[in-house]
Symmetry: C2
Subunit: 87 residues, 2 copies
């Protein structure tokens, strides 16, 4: 399964959230992670993230696409490699 | 067609980019727009945005899903309504 995860998380928690997402997915844009993942691993990842978030301030959107052939990604501008950044 | 557009754009240009995206899609998270759009309208929108971006600094990711049944969105934390914000 292919997932795109976007986040809007308070400054105090954002590094912890990024570190956790980096364990499971690829960091492709400042507020975006994506990649292939199993349902079981995604469930584990989201349970771990759920414990980190302050629900009334933070949000994480998880877009699941069962078959990656059903999603097409295009880029305008620069393709950055956030995954090499240290968090 | 359903699209998710994520952006990472320099501060000086971000309001213009948001205004343009709001003309075509729904602002659902700080760096995310999404919605149903025709290929022709998306092409027009992206051409207009292309002229605004500084290619070596900004990036826009466009995820196209032909049938919205192929994508499932879940939310952790708060569902904000960015679309009511003035930009």
């Amino acid at each position: 399964m292919f997932v795109v995860v976007t986040y809007d998380v308070g400054e105090k928690r954002v590094n912890r959230v990024r570190k956790k997402l980096k364990m499971y997915l690829t960091w492709t844009q400042n507020s975006v992670f994506e990649g292939e993942i199993t349902e079981a691993k995604l469930k584990k990842c989201l349970a771990e993230l759920d414990a980190m978030l302050i629900k009334c301030e933070d949000s994480l959107y998880i877009y699941r696409v069962k078959n990656s052939n059903n999603i097409k990604k295009d880029i305008l501008g620069e393709l950055k490699n956030y995954d090499d950044l240290f968090v």
